[in-house]
Amino acid sequence: MQNEHQLTEAESLQIITEMIGKVKSHFHESGSGAILWGSVIGFCSLMSFLQLYFHFSIGFDIWILSLVAIIPQLFIVWNNRRKRTIETYSEAAMNAVWSTFAIVLFGLILYLNLIGNISKQLMLNEQQLLLMKNTQTGELKEIVPFVLSSNSLFLLIYAFPTLATGFIRKFKPMILGGILCMLCFVASLFLNTTFDFLLQSIAVIVSWLIPGLILRNRYVKQQMGNV
């Protein structure tokens, strides 16, 4: 592009339109993160459902995989930053939304792991004990306080970043995925933990894995077009 040419008003307008269009068409969301977490959480939820429904155990906590997945996630973040030549305002907003989600998710996991024993101790300090009665035998059993239908809470918070991403990016698959998370959340209130896992599996596959694959497909097409 030369600089010395004296511009007319129409040419100025054309340059502005052309450059803004070039930024819009510079699509570089590879969908790797959505594919990774959609697969991992979807698989862990499905395995949890199968173990509970068919009464078998694989011998270890399948959710360890979600901790292991942090390693490829860190690589994805590092690789995206290395390859990135621009940062758009919507990307900055997305980063803020998903970082907030990760912090909230960590807080929820912490809460669910600690609240039972802490509550039990606090109740003991006030000379109280939580008991569960078997209505058939009349037997009373001491229990640790627990959060009812905790999987529903996960479905609820999965809906937040999914819907936010869908609305900000005007990306229909994620809007639909977010709506499905909300519907699964409501359904989970009426179902037991076993089926909550099944709902969780369906929700993350539809709201993260499938949109991630769609993004990946677009990204690959664009990369092939650039060659």
Partner: protein
């Protein structure tokens, strides 16, 4: 009475750079070079002029041992661009009537 078009922006390459930067938070020198099809030397000179006018911020750093120049539009640059577009609209509307 028409407003004068900002001479800093009323140049093909500088206008192209600002038009790119208005829609992004920040962009690498290589991205701007690719989209404007400008030569590295010419682009450096024009970015320097935009920087001196206070319209862009330029950050130079190293990434994987390679120099990386990142450009970002400033609030003054956004204001100048908006004024430029308004003035342009006035000219074009006057041409129609």
């Amino acid at each position: 009475m028409f407003k004068d078009l900002d001479p800093i922006l009323h140049s093909q390459l500088r206008l192209a750079v600002i038009s790119l930067l208005i829609s992004v938070k920040e962009a690498d020198f290589s991205f701007i070079k690719e989209k404007t099809n400008a030569t590295a030397g010419n682009l450096s000179v024009q970015i320097q002029k935009l920087k001196e006018a206070g319209y862009v911020e330029v950050e130079k750093k190293f990434s994987n041992n390679y120099p990386l120049t990142t450009c970002k539009i400033t609030p003054k640059g956004i204001e100048a661009f908006e004024t430029y577009v308004k003035a342009l609209q006035e000219y074009l509307n006057a041409g129609k009537s």
